[in-house]
């Protein structure tokens, strides 16, 4: 028998130049989208800038402004990007605001699920941090990242906890954590204060945090004067909204700048 005829040859087209069989009618249940490629977000759109967090004697404090920038445009001046997850955890994110709002809804649903099951202990900051690590790493491995730098503050085993996770899953715990520009400007300020004074009290921490945010407002073009502060102690979470840096800043020095008239 002619083997070549059995396996080697392809059947000739029904008619050349004509439509493909079935080409005029889309049969239900057939997948016509198999050659469509999927595109992922590879850069942030509306984004938030630095987050600053530090551990003090008996608690953790977090601060972030409320600006949603669209490139260099200060597009939304009142987007809150700090939220209370449970009595033992707060999450603040910089990066893509949409991705933050998405992850917030997922977490909120998760906390509700835990609550109604009744047997799950309250989600603490350590657990949330660990969970975020896995979610963000998983998304980066699928080349569909959540464009975020997350700062998790709260309590773990009755001790203050402060952790960081970024869009590729880089995660660590530290006594002071910042994202974006804060990593360059706030971290040295906090480390210096700690070196000088050792243990920080709650008042020290608050003053230091506001100082950091002020420096960031002066120097970071994407920063804003409206901000939020979250404070977690053994008693629980306290978030202050609608705080304002503007009364504490002075721009009079701007009059001495020459050469840009």
């Amino acid at each position: 028998m002619d083997v070549g005829r059995m396996f080697g040859e392809v059947a000739p087209p029904l008619w050349s130049g004509g439509p493909a069989p079935g080409g005029f009618y889309s049969f239900p249940g057939t997948n016509n989208k198999q050659h469509e490629t999927k595109t992922h977000t590879m850069y942030p759109s509306t984004s938030g800038t630095s987050v600053v967090g530090l551990v003090y004697d008996g608690g953790v404090m977090l601060g972030a402004d409320t600006l949603g920038s669209y490139g260099s445009l200060a597009r939304f001046r009142n987007v809150e990007r700090t939220f209370k997850v449970t009595d033992k955890a707060v999450l603040t994110c910089s990066g893509d605001i949409a991705d933050y709002q998405f992850i917030r809804e997922v977490i909120e649903q998760k906390v509700r699920d835990d609550e109604i099951s009744g047997f799950t202990p309250v989600l603490n900051a350590g657990a949330l941090h660990c969970w975020l690590t896995r979610v963000l790493y998983n998304r980066r491995s699928r080349f569909d990242p959540l464009w975020l730098e997350c700062v998790v503050a709260g309590f773990k085993d009755d001790k203050p906890f402060l952790g960081y996770v970024d869009k590729i899953g880089t995660a660590f715990e530290a006594q002071e954590v910042a994202s974006g520009f804060g990593m360059h400007m706030a971290i040295p300020m906090i480390r210096e204060a700690r070196e000088k004074k050792g243990n920080l009290t709650r008042d020290d921490a608050r003053k230091l945090l506001v100082d950091c945010l002020k420096v960031l407002y002066y120097r970071d073009c994407r920063a804003h004067f409206k901000y939020q502060v979250a404070d977690v102690t053994a008693e629980g979470v306290k978030i202050e909204n609608d705080l304002n840096l503007k009364p504490d800043t002075s721009w009079s020095i701007a009059n001495f700048v020459r050469g840009y008239e």
Binding site: Y43, S45, T133, Y137, F143, P145, I168, T170, F172
Partner: protein
């Protein structure tokens, strides 16, 4: 003329455009030295990203079993994932066999796990140190995609170029005329590890802050922390 046609110049780029890279280099250096009845494995405690120090207190050596430890550094996100999966595999093994996995078996498992990700690798440099079935100290060195080599001593990570030649000379007695390799005692190993990290911290910004030195013997494990320069 559109920006795309002019191309190139950095200041003309749309400021919103960042590009996604799934990997980061987070520094970190590890060293391991095997003796006849012990093994010493150490890493620095600095975690970096570019010119930033993310943490000054991040040890990179993970205790896997009472007789085996692994040091890994490179892309920290991958390090965390690799550690997590490896620990899960060891737990599964211990449940299945009612026994702790031997160092030799852990060494092979690690190689297999790294090669499993051959085409989207864990960007991680690993050293595995432990006590083998005969009670001897062993060191295994890996590349990111699972190549594995059994050695008497090894360095890996950010400062490998500073430390490995020192160990080759001082322990291997390489590149010297009429030199015989010394007997490795705990004192010598500790001193060499300390010296190696001190000199690496002088020259490499990705290494510093502190060293965590772990010593494993058949009787158990001891840990020691040593300070390094923090600038």
């Amino acid at each position: 003329m559109s920006l795309a046609v002019m191309g190139g110049a950095d200041y003309m780029r749309d400021p919103r455009k960042h590009h996604f890279h799934p990997y980061a280099d987070n520094g970190g250096t590890s060293v391991a030295i095997a003796g006849d009845d012990f093994v010493m494995i150490a890493s620095d405690t600095r975690l970096t990203r570019g010119f930033n120090i993310l943490s000054r207190d991040q040890g990179k050596v993970l205790g896997l079993t009472p007789k085996t430890m692994m040091a890994s550094s490179g892309c920290w996100a991958d390090v965390l994932t690799l550690k997590k999966v490896l620990n899960a595999r060891l737990t599964m093994y211990s449940h299945e066999h009612h026994d702790v996995m031997s160092t030799t078996a852990v060494a092979q498992l690690l190689s297999t796990m790294l090669y499993w990700r051959r085409f989207f690798p864990y960007y991680v440099s690993n050293i595995l140190a432990g006590i083998d079935e005969e009670g001897k100290g062993v060191v295994y060195h890996y590349d990111p995609v699972g190549h594995m080599e059994k050695l008497a001593f090894s360095a890996t990570g950010a400062s490998v170029a500073q430390i490995q030649p020192l160990l080759d000379n001082q322990i291997g007695a390489l590149n010297m005329k009429d030199a015989t390799p010394p007997t490795i005692t705990k004192e010598l190993a500790r001193q060499l590890i300390h010296d190696a990290f001190v000199s690496a911290a002088e020259r490499d910004i990705n290494t510093g802050d502190g060293i965590l030195i772990h010593t494993i013997t058949k009787d158990g494990r001891t840990d020691e922390k040593v300070k390094l320069r923090r600038d």
